[in-house]
Symmetry: D2
């Protein structure tokens, strides 16, 4: 349903007062954000008002090469984007940044997020004769901004007015000929931070790991509702706070649990530490008699360290992930699909044989992967498997960008914890308590999380209406 | 100047009442129109209202393969486009057909032509908050049509109203979920015709050779100003003639002389015959004492046959063209560039040695190619070369899509015929008389030609204003 | 049968005493020889004894780009090769030139031809422990040369001895660290010539059109049996004539009729003129009452000019070939395959309608293409079609490289001329008389032709044994 | 020097008595062995004696796609190969498996290893007229085997005789029309093992992780000197032990320390456990006062777990590796190269800040990477860094395939441990004691290691002579 407007992505921007190899910088920044989206990527360089852009389907390393980076040249600003690969939506048109021409010149937009009033806004714009080249939220935002621009003194004023119409989760970068503007929705649902390099260039990115990758030091997160304006004309940086403190913060807790890289820092706290804390709470809430604590690579490792520390059970390496798996894999046969877990992961027999194991993973969605993983360990001789999940059970959909499209596929909606344990074949199963979520980061670090997928309590209204396009619907049916 | 909005292209559409392999049909149609544009190409299939499209930079044979054609699937309609490759403008965004979503669903547009009120229309649309993803005329047209659609009962009514605003040369296809609409500008500056296949599908194409390639028989040309509506709902074909007979016909004479394939028929007359007639007139106007008449392959061959027939001098084959040349060629070194004519063409020594030759070519632009060609023949032993050009001298620019961007580069603007003959090294030189242009096709076949590039007399006003974008200008300067 | 050792190809070599951009020169040379093979191509540069090579499947324009040409660098010699694309044999290993290392250094070989004692030689070499990476004749030749090299003072002596063992058709280039050696079989079955550029570099090529393309003037053909040695050490050019005048010349007549480019000159006579002569003889042997003479593009055009001249019937252009056809075409559907002739060729209705036509083609193999071509003209309104073929009927196989693999597929083996005329739907049909073949080139120009495919009289023995590899046979069966 | 014959690689073979999708199986097997070579890869399928092969430059996922796997089809056997990417040697010809035709049919070879009598054998073969298409050891082996085959009753007899001539490290697979043969050198320098799938197919592979990936259970390692013959005709499996127990075992210790995947088992012992043991010994030999033990991902993690366990200092995750790094990376600028460590690895500030850290890595070669890594941790606030290396210092070259080509580049050859510590900027530095190497695997598991790179004591003679090819030398100089 809302899947068609799914927008989990990573954004990156660089701003300086002098020309520099911003394309190369953005390339490395996107490379660090690759985990946020592998479907498509793009870079737009702003060379004194002239925009040069390149984007295509694929990961950063496949889309860009030396020639392309060179052809993008130097500039004083650039924005980049990586887009999440939802199966079936691989539309080249939806690749970002979006570059449009309008009455005042060029505009490049890169956005991460999903609007819940997408349908309403699109309908309204269409009624005004707007035409759409993409199915993305970003084009909606660009129309809103451009419309407000007609009656605003500055582009940032237009952005600020446009934000008054946007409902939902977003964190976007807008690059005009002279400015780089970063904005985060009033609830701060998606992360966005900025920092400074040694040579005086400012970097804005979805995650701080991208700042580190280009040698920048984190200054702080963009605040919920804040608009940050890097002005190439006046050489100033301004913060517009009109939308700040209007709504309770509701940052996606799943960023801490799964999405973000552990070496990133969101809203002032380490993602790795938050996961370690989850492991610690798990050890308190669901202790186990076991010989060893094993994390499922890569996202279960941090919590495993926390569990091991808290429980005193030794941490071990029992599963090895094929490090070449992070790319498109050729369509395997039926049997191969069965064995996909086996191809991605392998157990170390000497570590797990005859052992009682605490197995830490970040989440269970449908349960099928967990089941195969458990079989892998059983085949390698594991005696007991006590599975611990560093998040509560998934019980509801996400309207804001995470790709959970149907409650029927969620094992926690269909089965009790005991039933689930039986289905996946473990000796015991324990999820993180929902109450612990707020404690993953220390008090004062984040003023509030969106925990809707675990609680069914949404920080916004539900999407008011669905965008109704009978031809799009036909398309989905035909697939 | 107007180069940035250059739009010489080929369009192709297929319409049937039942699903059929329209992607394959369009593929073959575009293949036959490849000479009209090698920069990019695309196909959009309409499968009961669901649009599937694919387009990319490159020629038809490189862009499409079996998998892609298969993935486009069957449908009851499709439109396709080939785009001319002007150096420097190779922007993937500008590839057509353009597919946009609007209030009533999808719309696909494929256009050949150039609007002279491009800047005015774009400015007006921008003032309304429109944003532009491309630099092409086609997006302008789509906005006009969609805007009128908001207050029109049907899409064809919107197209008709929109045509009231368009000034210049165009021939476009618009595909809505239920209709295929073909329109030709009121002066008929660009060609467009339609026909019927044995299995009852209608084909619309820039040239009749594309009809033949897919087994369709030419019915007739779309008339200047006519809108032809293939209605998939009512299964009817309607002609809207509101814009017909409003303006004197001014079909581009250069289509007959150079652009179109000789096996095409434009406005009821064979392109080959028109060129043969040009050769005949040349023989009358510029007779020569010679042993043999040789045409420069490929576009000089038809006129050479006409010259030979009229003059009684035997037709011969004296130049052979490398038939693998019709594609991008790797960047040759300086010396190689010098020799490019030698690589494309080779003289047959036994034919030309010690002979007096009448050499027929379609045009002389800068004179450099002619000079090299003459040297090639001299090196092969030609005794005398009497060059005859099957068009008058180029003396003015074209505002409507033909790529002649500067009068300084036109040898006929800088030199007399005698000087030109000396520069290129021929014993005599003769151009077709301007007065003969109207006689290339028999009376009644075409009601009028645009001969502006030969006469400086334009069928429309000159472009009123240039589209002013200082960032675009910077871009050009930076190149 | 002999299909697996099919070797119709083009070879090109350049030799100078100083370093020059030989890769670029070879690139242009191969481009001119592209008609001799589209399956694969390759270039080997000799830079003072260091060999750099690149080869791959595909045509010259697809395989090479600026980067590759540049990476091959400069040298004082180079050899290149284009290979014919027999369906199913597209083995990357078989791409030439073949580069091997041996006791004395490197060796690069490029060959055009087919050995009839292939099986015998291969068996013998295998009995000595030789291993084969390819299925081509060229590897056999390389083993022979290297074996003789062990006991010879010079590489040319080894080549000369090796030629004593080779039976069949060949024309090859061998490049050693210091020498470029060109050899043509004692019967001169395959063409090979050489020339000189203005800057003093020698060019050897299968056809003289490749000399022209790189600005070289033809010196003469390599004589049957001759070995020409360009010696980079002594800076001399030597001719070894030990194998000359040992056997009657038997140059493939099909080179004149079909294979070679019309602008080439073979054994001192213009290919175009030979074809024009064929047309002249046809007009004498098979006159027709007709309005127009039309050649089938491209290989029927030269003879059509000859027929027109001799008969006095006007030459016309009635068929247009899609000039983008010269490349791989996507797998068309069943119906499309039916229409392939229509996609390649189109009739000019205005020229053929209600006319009696003399239609000139170079040959009829199975008759299916001719049949479709005739239908095309009939559909365009042709009243009478008198087909004239500029070669005698194909009645026998070729052992020497031309791809005629089965007599059952030859229409002339199954039907009389009258029957054939009926099958393909023409009003009359006439083939060139076999006796005329010897007169296609003037007396003294070529001392003898191989006309085996028209006469069944072979210049060599038949292949003594077939190379027996039961696994290869299985492979063919499995296809 | 020996770099040109560098052959670190992975081999994989599958054998069954019935046709099965062996290409797919081999694909997954090579995918699991990808860490052993990223330069090129290939698969040869044996379909009842018919060989179908495909190989190219690149990693498994780039070289193969569904179409290619499908085109390779089913068979009862297959062999595959991944080849190590040494800079500059990227020669497509050297891709394996090597397929050759010889007197008895086809032969496919896939080898991992380096012969020390390479030059001697090649010279000898050249003196017999052998020609070489590649610069690899594998072609030498194929000639030896084929030569012996001429006078042997069976292919395995020929392999056994050939092994009498081979000196050095090797582990190869030979596939004949009816047999799959696996052989390991008499010292067992390179690993090779085999196992059985549930559906009764045998798998041979360089590492047991490839067996697991295709669902096979490890049976045992091929013994040093053993030849294992899977006979498709007799359906038997035979072991030829003529070369067994002739020489002391000398398995490369670096396989345990670095090369192999930790989930593999070599000569009966877990690679992960061997590394954990190294960590344990390090803790005993070089204790440290510290807050946390951190491993450098990925190859330092196993030893870090061992160090943490033995020392009681908590194991932590302090460095995160970008998981998309495992592929070719675009040529970065100078500054970027400086920052490459930063792009690959990032420190978790919250974990390392103000901490005393034990940092575990597998080896130090030149010291430059370690230096940057230490700076990364210092910048993140690390108070003290005690570096521990899970192998002894590199002091000598490897003749057998590991890419250490110059002693000058080895920091341990130029500096003391104290100096090294200072250079890389750590508070203390400790290497694993050489004496501990034999204890990494328990007694009885491996009868002996090659530790030459740490000790200078070689299990074989040094290479007797270098292969002397002045043209190859020129090539190197020209680079």
């Amino acid at each position: 349903m809302y899947g068609s407007i799914h927008e989990e992505c990573g954004v990156f921007g660089v701003y300086g007062t002098e020309p520099s190899p911003v394309a190369m910088t953005t390339y490395y920044g996107l490379f660090a954000l690759q985990h946020r989206g592998q479907e498509s990527c793009g870079i737009v360089v702003n060379d004194d008002g002239v925009f040069r852009s390149y984007k295509d389907m694929g990961i950063v390393n496949d889309v860009f090469n030396s020639d392309i980076i060179e052809s993008l040249g130097t500039g004083n600003m650039a924005v980049g984007h990586v887009r999440y690969g939802k199966s079936g939506s691989n539309n080249r048109n939806n690749a970002q940044p979006l570059v449009v021409n309008h009455i005042k010149g060029h505009l490049a937009l890169a956005n991460n997020g999903t609007l819940i009033n997408f349908a309403e806004l699109k309908r309204e714009q269409e009624m005004n004769g707007c035409i759409f080249h993409t199915t993305s939220n970003t084009e909606i935002i660009s129309y809103l901004v451009i419309k407000e621009r007609l009656t605003s003194a500055t582009i940032e004023e237009a952005v600020c007015k446009a934000m008054g119409r946007l409902e939902g989760a977003y964190a976007f970068l807008i690059m005009s000929p002279q400015k780089l503007i970063a904005a985060r929705d009033p609830r701060g649902m998606k992360p966005l931070c900025y920092g400074l390099t040694d040579d005086g260039r400012y970097i804005v990115a979805s995650e701080s790991c991208a700042l580190n990758a280009v040698g920048a030091k984190l200054i702080r997160d963009i605040e919920p509702g804040e608009i940050l304006v890097f002005n190439g004309k006046t050489k100033t940086i301004d913060s517009i706070r009109e939308h700040c403190n209007q709504k309770p913060q509701a940052t996606c807790i799943f960023e801490h649990i799964y999405t973000a890289r552990p070496d990133s820092c969101i809203d002032g706290y380490s993602v790795h530490r938050a996961r370690e804390n989850a492991g610690k709470f798990l050890a308190q809430q669901h202790p186990a008699q076991a010989d060893i604590v094993i994390g499922v690579p890569d996202s279960g490792l941090d919590a495993a360290v926390g569990y091991a520390k808290e429980s005193g059970i030794p941490y071990g390496i029992g599963l090895i992930k094929n490090k070449y798996i992070g790319r498109t894999f050729i369509a395997p046969g039926q049997q191969a699909r069965e064995n996909l877990v086996k191809i991605k992961l392998n157990a170390i027999t000497e570590v797990v044989k005859d052992k009682s194991i605490v197995l830490i993973d970040d989440s269970i969605v449908r349960g099928t992967t967990s089941k195969k993983l458990v079989k892998l360990l059983r085949d390698a001789g594991a005696r007991e498997i006590h599975m611990r999940i560093s998040s509560p059970p998934f019980v509801d959909l996400c309207y804001y960008g995470t790709d959970i499209s149907s409650k029927e596929k969620l094992i926690a909606c269909q089965h009790t914890v005991e039933e689930t344990a039986k289905i996946i074949g473990v000796d015991s199963l324990g999820y993180l308590n929902v109450d612990s979520l707020d404690k993953l980061t220390p008090e004062g670090k984040c003023k509030g999380f969106c925990k809707a997928c675990f609680t069914g309590v949404y920080p916004t209204e539900a999407p008011k209406q669905e965008y109704d396009n009978r031809f799009d619907k036909k398309l989905s049916e035909k697939k």
